[in-house]
C-alpha cells in the first residue's frame, strides 16, 4: 500500500458530495442566522428564556442518561455475568426496544399515563401526581427507549474483557464486590461513557418526545417558529446554537476518551465464570422483566389494544390507504442505507490509501446535526444549489445520508479494522489488482459488518421524523410523518397506533437480524 498522501479522483468523487451536503445546510443556516439583528435576537432570547431552556435541555439530557444507564447497565451485567434465569432470552430481547422510536413510546405512555389515560382511570383519579408532561416525563420516555445503547455497549465490553484481570484481582485478595467496583466497572468506563454519550445527545437533540410532551427545548422552539411563522432568522440562529453545543459535547467526549485504552480484547479467552446470585436471583429476574415490560411488552400491548378498538374491517381499509406511505418509507430508507454504505465503504477503503482523515471527520459532523436543524438547513440549501433534488424524494435520501453516514462509516471501519492489511497484500502479490483483491478478499470478509451497518442505517432512516417533516415533497409522506400527523391532529387514537405498530414491526425485524448477528459474533474466526 502506498503511503503517498494524495487526493485521488475517486476519493474526491466520494468525499466532495458528502462534504457538500454536510457543510452546505449548516452554512446556509449560519448565513440565515446572521441576517438577524443582534438586539432583536437578544430581546427574543430573553423572552424565550433561552438560558433557562438550554439549562432545561441539559437537565433533560442528563436525567435521560442517568435513567437509561440505570436500566441498561445492571441488566447488561446480569445477563452477561450472572446465572440469571432465562438470561439468553433476555440478552436477545433487551436491545429490541430500540425498534420503538421514542416518539412512539411517548404516544404509548400518553395513552397510559396522561390525564384521563388508562392508569389514572384504573386508579380512579383524574391525573397522576407526577405529570407526564414535564422534563421528568420526557426523561422517563427517552430513557426507556434509549437504554439499549448503554446496554449493548456495556454487555459487549463485558463479553470482551479478559476475565484474567478479575481473577488477578481476586488473587490479590479483593472480595467479589470490590472486584466489581475496583476492576470491572473501571474497565467498563469507555463503553459506559460511549453509551451514555449517545443517550445524552439523543436527549439533547430530541424533537418528537419533547414536542409531544410539551417540554420546551431548542428543537421545539425551532419547530414552532418554522411551522408558525415565516421567520428564518430566529430558527436558523437557534439551530446554529444547538449544533454548536452538540459538536462541543462531541469534542469533549473525544478528549475524555482519547487518552487511555481500557478494554483488553482477547481472542480466545475463556468466558468469565458466572456469578451465582443465590437468593437475589429472583429479584434480579423480576428487575430484568420489569425493564422489558416497561420498554417492550407494555408498549406493544398498548398499541395492540389500541388497534383492536377499531373494527377489523375499518382498520383493514385504513391500512390499505396507508400502504403508499409505507412504500415511501421503505424505498427511501433502503436507498439511503445503500448509498450511505457505498460511500462509507469507499471512504473507509480510500482512507487506508491516503485519503485525508479530516474527510471522515467531516462526516461525523452530520451525526451531530439534530434532525430538525438538518431539515431546515437542507431544504434551504438544496433549493438554492440543487433545485432538481429539492422537492423530490431524493431530498429525503440526502437527509438520511447526512444524518446516518457516521454509523455506516463506523461499521465499515470496525469491519476493516479487523482485517490485517497483509490479507489484501497477499491477494495483490497473487496477481490481483487493487479492486479485484478488494472484491475477492476484503469484501467477503467484511460483509457481516457491512450488513450490520446497512441494517442500522435502514432502521434509523425508517424511523426518522424531524428532518423528514421539513424536507418531504408534496404527496410524499413517510410512515413516521403519518403517525405524527395523526397523533397531532387527533391524538394517540387507534389509527395512529396501527401505523405506529406497523412501523415498530418493520423496524423490529431488521433489528432482531442485526442482534442475532451481533450475538453470533461479526468477525469470522481466523
Amino acid at each position: 500500500m502506498t503511503v503517498r498522501r494524495r487526493w485521488s479522483p475517486a476519493g474526491l468523487a466520494l468525499a466532495a458530495p458528502t462534504a457538500f451536503f454536510v457543510i452546505g445546510p449548516l452554512g446556509f443556516l449560519v448565513w440565515m442566522g446572521l441576517a438577524q439583528e443582534r438586539a432583536d435576537f437578544l430581546e427574543r432570547a430573553r423572552d424565550l428564556d433561552l438560558l433557562m431552556v438550554v439549562g432545561q435541555v441539559a437537565l433533560l439530557a442528563t436525567l435521560t442518561t442517568v435513567w437509561a444507564c440505570a436500566l441498561g447497565v445492571p441488566l447488561a451485567w446480569l445477563t452477561v455475568r450472572t446465572d440469571l434465569p432465562a438470561r439468553r432470552l433476555l440478552h436477545w430481547l433487551a436491545p429490541l426496544p430500540l425498534a420503538i422510536p421514542p416518539y412512539i413510546g411517548a404516544l404509548v405512555y400518553q395513552i397510559l399515563l396522561a390525564p384521563g389515560g388508562m392508569a389514572p382511570r384504573l386508579l380512579g383519579t383524574g391525573s397522576l401526581p407526577v405529570s407526564l408532561y414535564s422534563v421528568a416525563g420526557a426523561a422517563w420516555i427517552l430513557g426507556l427507549f434509549t437504554y439499549p445503547y448503554p446496554y449493548l455497549l456495556v454487555s459487549g465490553a463485558l463479553e470482551r474483557t479478559n476475565p484474567a484481570l478479575e481473577e488477578a484481582a481476586r488473587g490479590v485478595g479483593l472480595s467479589p464486590r470490590h472486584v466489581l467496583t475496583r476492576v470491572t466497572l473501571p474497565l467498563l468506563r469507555p463503553s459506559l461513557l460511549a453509551g451514555a454519550l449517545i443517550v445524552f445527545l439523543y436527549g439533547w437533540a430530541d424533537f418528537g418526545v419533547v414536542s409531544l410532551l410539551r417540554v420546551r427545548t431548542l428543537t421545539t422552539i425551532i419547530y414552532e417558529y418554522v411551522q408558525g411563522t415565516l421567520d428564518w432568522a430566529l430558527p436558523a440562529a437557534l439551530s446554529v446554537l444547538l449544533t454548536a453545543i452538540t459538536i462541543l459535547v462531541l469534542l469533549l467526549q473525544l478528549r475524555a476518551l482519547g487518552r487511555a485504552r481500557y478494554t483488553q480484547i482477547v481472542g480466545a479467552a475463556k468466558p468469565a465464570p458466572r456469578i451465582a446470585l443465590g437468593a437475589w436471583r429472583w429479584l434480579a429476574f423480576a428487575y430484568a422483566w420489569g425493564v422489558l415490560t416497561l420498554t417492550l411488552l407494555l408498549p406493544l400491548g398498548v398499541l395492540g389494544y389500541q388497534v383492536s378498538r377499531l373494527p377489523a374491517s375499518d382498520m383493514g381499509a385504513f391500512l390499505l390507504t396507508q400502504w403508499p406511505y409505507f412504500v415511501n418509507s421503505l424505498w427511501t430508507a433502503v436507498a439511503g442505507a445503500s448509498l450511505a454504505l457505498v460511500i462509507a465503504l469507499g471512504i473507509g477503503w480510500l482512507e487506508g490509501r491516503g485519503l485525508s482523515r479530516s474527510v471522515s471527520g467531516l462526516f461525523q459532523v452530520g451525526y451531530a446535526i439534530p434532525g430538525t436543524v438538518l431539515g431546515l438547513g437542507l431544504a434551504g440549501f438544496l433549493h438554492a444549489t440543487l433545485p432538481w433534488i429539492y422537492g423530490t424524494p431524493l431530498a429525503l435520501i440526502v437527509a438520511y445520508l447526512v444524518l446516518y453516514i457516521t454509523p455506516a462509516y463506523q461499521a465499515v471501519k470496525a469491519a476493516l479494522a479487523q482485517l490485517h492489511p497483509s490479507i489484501e497484500e497477499a491477494a495483490r502479490s497473487l496477481g490481483r489488482g487493487p479492486l479485484a483483491a478488494f472484491r475477492a478478499v476484503t469484501l467477503p470478509l467484511i460483509k457481516p459488518g457491512l450488513v450490520a451497518g446497512w441494517l442500522l442505517v435502514f432502521v434509523l432512516s425508517m424511523r426518522e421524523l424531524a428532518a423528514t417533516l421539513i424536507v418531504r415533497p408534496p404527496g410524499f409522506d413517510t410512515l413516521p410523518v403519518r403517525i405524527w400527523i395523526h397523533a397531532m391532529d387527533v391524538g394517540p387514537e387507534p389509527r395512529a397506533a396501527a401505523l405506529a405498530l406497523a412501523l415498530v414491526l418493520t423496524i423490529a425485524l431488521p433489528w432482531s437480524l442485526l442482534l442475532s448477528r451481533r450475538l453470533r459474533g461479526i468477525s469470522p474466526s481466523v
Binding site: R214, E224, Q227, N328, W331, T392, P393, P474, M488, G491
Partner: protein, 339 residues
C-alpha cells in the same frame, strides 16, 4: 453481488413508480395547513368529480409559506389553503399568490376576500371559549376574553401554541381593537394567571373535556369535534365579548390562494371554484364543522349552540387588518406562545 443487483432494481422500480406522479398533467398540488382528515372529504369529492388528482402536503401554515417563498422560482405547489387569512395575506404581499376572481367568490362577503383576488375565504371559524361544564358553573363563566385574567381562572385556562395560526390571529384581533399596549398587558395578565400553552387546538379541546383545564381559548369547531368524538363530553361553548361594550367575537377563515407560477393553474382554479361551489363548500363546511360564508348552506352544530354568521356580535376587524398585525403579534408574543 446478486443481492446488490436486486436492490438496485428495486430502487429503480421505486423511482420509476414515484416519478410520474409529480409530472402528471391532470393534477393539483395542495399545500394545506388544515387538518388532513377534515379536508379530505371535500378534496376526494373534487378528485372524483373532475378526475384531477389531488396531491396533498399537510403541514402547518408557516412551514408551507416558507416553502412557497423558497420555491418562488419553481413552484411545486398550486393551491395554498391557510387556516387564517394572515399567512395568505403575507404571501400575497410578497407577490407569491396569483390573483383569481372566481365567479363563485362573489358570494363571499367582501371582507373575506383579498381586494386583488389573491386569496379568498372558503369557510369561517369563530374564536370562542370552550369550557368544562363540571368545572365551571354557567353563572361563573367569563363574559369576555379579558375576564380570563381574573384570579378565579388561575391555572385553569389553556390555549394552542403559535404553530396554530388562529392563536396569532386572535391576539391580532385584540390588538386591532384594543391597541398594542392593552394587548401586551392582557397577555402578561394571562401569563401571570398561569395560562397553559398546549401544542395545538386538539390538545386544548381534549384537555378541557378531560377536566385538566376549565376553559380553552380555541375555535368553535373544536367544540363540535369533541362532541363528535364523545357525545357525552362535558363541554360547553361560549361566545365572549357579546355585551354592548364587548369587542365582539373574532371570525377567521380558511383561505385559498393560487400560488403564482403554479404548474397546474387550470386545475388550481377548478379546485378553488369547486370549494366555493355549492357542493364543495357544503362538504367543506360539514366536514370541518365550520360556519358557512356563503348563504344557503346550513350551519353545522346549530342544535348544539353554534351560531352562524350574523347570529352573534362579530368583532369588527377585517381579515386584512388581522394579517397586518400578525407579524407584530409573532414578534411580541411568539416567545410566550410556545409550550
Amino acid at each position: 453481488m446478486k443481492r446488490t443487483a436486486i436492490l438496485l432494481l428495486g430502487l429503480g422500480l421505486g423511482l420509476s413508480a414515484a416519478l410520474p406522479t409529480w409530472a402528471s398533467a391532470s393534477e393539483v398540488v395542495v399545500y394545506s395547513a388544515r387538518k388532513e382528515e377534515l379536508i379530505r372529504p371535500a378534496l376526494d369529492a373534487f378528485q372524483k368529480a373532475t378526475g384531477i388528482k389531488v396531491t396533498l402536503l399537510s403541514a402547518k401554515a408557516g412551514d408551507l409559506a416558507r416553502r412557497i417563498e423558497m420555491e418562488k422560482s419553481d413552484p411545486k405547489g398550486d393551491v395554498f389553503l391557510g387556516t387564517t387569512a394572515g399567512i395568505a395575506e403575507l404571501l400575497r404581499r410578497k407577490g407569491l399568490l396569483a390573483p383569481y376572481f372566481s365567479a363563485a367568490a362573489q358570494e363571499v362577503p367582501e371582507e373575506f376576500r383579498a381586494p386583488d383576488g389573491g386569496w379568498v375565504a372558503l369557510t369561517g371559524r369563530v374564536r370562542v371559549l370552550i369550557y368544562n361544564r363540571t368545572l365551571a358553573a354557567e353563572r361563573d363563566l367569563p363574559r369576555s376574553y379579558f375576564d380570563l385574567t381574573d384570579p378565579k381562572w388561575k391555572g385553569k385556562v389553556a390555549v394552542a401554541s403559535m404553530g396554530e395560526r388562529t392563536t396569532v390571529s386572535w391576539l391580532a384581533a385584540l390588538m386591532a381593537l384594543r391597541g398594542e399596549e392593552a394587548t401586551r398587558q392582557y397577555v402578561k395578565g394571562l401569563r401571570d394567571n398561569g395560562l397553559k400553552v398546549l401544542n395545538n387546538n386538539t390538545e386544548v379541546r381534549k384537555a378541557v373535556a378531560r377536566g385538566e383545564y376549565a376553559i380553552g381559548i380555541t375555535n368553535h369547531y373544536y367544540y363540535l369535534l369533541q362532541l363528535q368524538e364523545d357525545p357525552h363530553s362535558p363541554v360547553g361553548i361560549l361566545y365572549p365579548d357579546q355585551g354592548p361594550d364587548g369587542i365582539g367575537t373574532p371570525v377567521f377563515s380558511i383561505t385559498a390562494g393560487i400560488i403564482k407560477g403554479a404548474k397546474h393553474p387550470d386545475a388550481a382554479r377548478a379546485l378553488v371554484d369547486f370549494l366555493l361551489g355549492a357542493q364543495g363548500n357544503r362538504l367543506l363546511v360539514q366536514g370541518e364543522f365550520e360556519i358557512p360564508l356563503i348563504a344557503g348552506i346550513p350551519v353545522p352544530g346549530e342544535d348544539k349552540g353554534v351560531k352562524g354568521l350574523g347570529q352573534f356580535k362579530k368583532a369588527r376587524v377585517t381579515q386584512v387588518q388581522l394579517a397586518d398585525l400578525e407579524p407584530r403579534v409573532e414578534k411580541l408574543f411568539g416567545p410566550f406562545l410556545i409550550p
